[in-house]
């Protein structure tokens, strides 16, 4: 299949970028990233600069891939990362625009690659449980109800890719922060630091200049792990809990 691509090219975070047209011959069984690999191989053969894009596991679990394909983060298939999109999703002769995640907090490193360390800094502010390291505890030493365990796991499924920020009209990171805060707030291990965690992570999120949540639901629609907007409702509850207990 023959494709007409419009790809965002940008040398670094300081220079302005632009959309550049490329034609590529691909196979419908290729993954989207393999199609870009083919284009890059051709660019390298011609002595041109290959297109920089993030990728790692290529099996939908690491959260590294990050393309806005035709205006949708992670492309046309719901609950699917970019690396799991295949070219059969597109008709022959399709014209596809590929852009990076766009947010003040995610500066472009090069082309389609952005710096998402703002999310790491939010995690470092409180998205963990402080435990003494040592021998691993017995697996079932702390009983957790099935429903609670499943809910916590649904939030824990967040791979931190940042598609929620990319999709949000306000570039808000509330779904990401909500998933992390909710996951630990539901588990007994997370109780000790529960309120301090919520306040610190919210303060860190604000310090990174992410926008606020306007409840549009764009984040939930593109999340490759289908994290529910309930995470945001819970984050709001955790915020009010922190204010009420004077620990904000």
């Amino acid at each position: 299949m023959r494709l007409q691509l419009h790809i965002w090219r940008q040398k670094n975070s300081r220079e302005p970028g632009r959309l550049v047209p490329y034609a590529v011959q691909a196979d419908e069984h290729m993954s989207f990233l393999e199609m870009l690999d083919v284009l890059n191989a051709e660019l390298i053969r011609k002595g041109e600069d290959p297109i920089a894009f993030d990728h790692d596991c290529r099996e939908g679990i690491c959260g590294a891939c990050s393309l806005v394909i035709d205006g949708v983060p992670h492309g046309p298939r719901a609950a699917t990362t970019t690396c799991q999109i295949h070219m059969r999703e597109f008709p022959d002769g399709a014209e596809i625009t590929i852009e990076p995640w766009r947010a003040y907090a995610f500066p472009v490193v090069k082309d389609l690659m952005v710096d998402r360390s703002a999310l790491d800094r939010i995690i470092a502010a409180g998205g963990y449980v402080s435990v003494r390291t040592g021998a691993a505890p017995d697996a079932n030493a702390i009983p957790i109800g099935k429903n609670t365990a499943e809910k916590a796991f649904d939030y824990a499924a967040c791979i931190g890719c940042g598609a929620c920020v990319a999709a949000c009209p306000n570039a808000s990171a509330m779904l990401f922060v909500g998933a992390k805060v909710s996951h630990l707030a539901l588990l007994p291990q997370g109780q000790v630091e529960r309120t301090a965690r919520a306040s610190r992570m919210i303060a860190a999120m604000d310090a990174e200049s992410f926008g606020g949540c306007s409840n549009h639901g764009e984040c939930e629609a593109v999340c490759p792990k289908s994290i529910s907007l309930d995470a945001i409702a819970k984050l709001n509850r955790e915020f009010m809990r922190a204010v009420a207990t004077g620990e904000s």
Binding site: A125, P169, I202, S209, N215, E218, K234, L235, S248
Partner: protein
């Protein structure tokens, strides 16, 4: 491209005040907005009394005017809620705009609604309308020709002012447009309030998401029907 500033250390001494955080502002905006929607519903119910005729309507207006201190308490309360609501809204809108300095060349909305994406516009249209509306019915600055009318019992003939004003297609048109703006605003806002306050989740989510559109339709029909009825001569002066 702008460079991300160094994040502030998230220790307690440098942490911003809770109400100054994005979520804090959202909560303040939600609570003040809920007060305003509560008033809008009461206001709508009140003005539907036009259908009950001149006597009922003027008696209701005289009753409200006779509340004295309570009337002023409510007026100042509503003004305070409005100021707080607009201020939080503008602050958040500026922050949200700054969070994405470079727009997408192509962006396809998946879930958001046109009325949800135009909250700032519908809110500002409503504030402009509110000034006109107060100048019309509360202060009598615009269209003053019907403002001083008295009814047979010597009461201010609010009914007569109301019905005669809305016989003008321009005045009715203005009110219908403003009503559409406020209804669109509430259609997104009411459900948004419920999530911001942490209520809209789990089993309650679907019901909470219907509250906004339902209230929006209710407000539009309730508010727009009366001026339109006056324009169509279904309600006589």
């Amino acid at each position: 491209m702008p460079v991300v500033p160094d994040p502030k250390p998230a220790n307690s001494s440098e942490r911003p005040q809770p109400l100054g955080s994005t979520i804090g502002r959202k909560v303040v905006m939600a609570l003040s907005g809920a007060v305003l929607v509560g008033f809008a519903l009461a206001h709508m119910a009140g003005h539907l009394k036009v259908y009950a005729g001149r006597d009922d309507y003027n008696a209701y207006a005289a009753f409200l005017q006779g509340l004295g201190g309570l009337k002023w308490l409510v007026r100042f309360g509503l003004l305070a809620a409005l100021v707080v609501h607009v201020r939080s809204g503008l602050t958040l809108a500026a922050r949200n705009k700054g969070a994405r300095p470079h727009a997408y060349a192509v962006k396809r909305a998946q879930r958001s609604t046109p009325y949800g994406r135009t909250m700032l516009l519908s809110g500002l249209v409503f504030v402009a309308f509110l000034i006109y509306h107060l100048a019309h019915f509360t202060l009598g600055w615009v269209h003053p020709q019907y403002f001083a009318l008295k009814d047979a019992l010597g009461r201010t003939d609010v009914y007569g002012n109301f019905v005669r004003s809305f016989q003008s297609p321009i005045i009715t048109g203005t009110y219908v447009i403003a009503t559409a703006a406020v209804s669109m605003h509430v259609a997104h806002a009411a459900s948004s309030v419920l999530r911001t306050l942490g209520i809209s989740s789990g089993a309650l989510r679907r019901s909470c998401e219907r509250v906004g559109p339902a209230l929006g339709v209710l407000l539009f029909v309730g508010f727009a029907s009366v001026p339109v009825a006056c324009l169509l001569d279904l309600v006589k002066p």
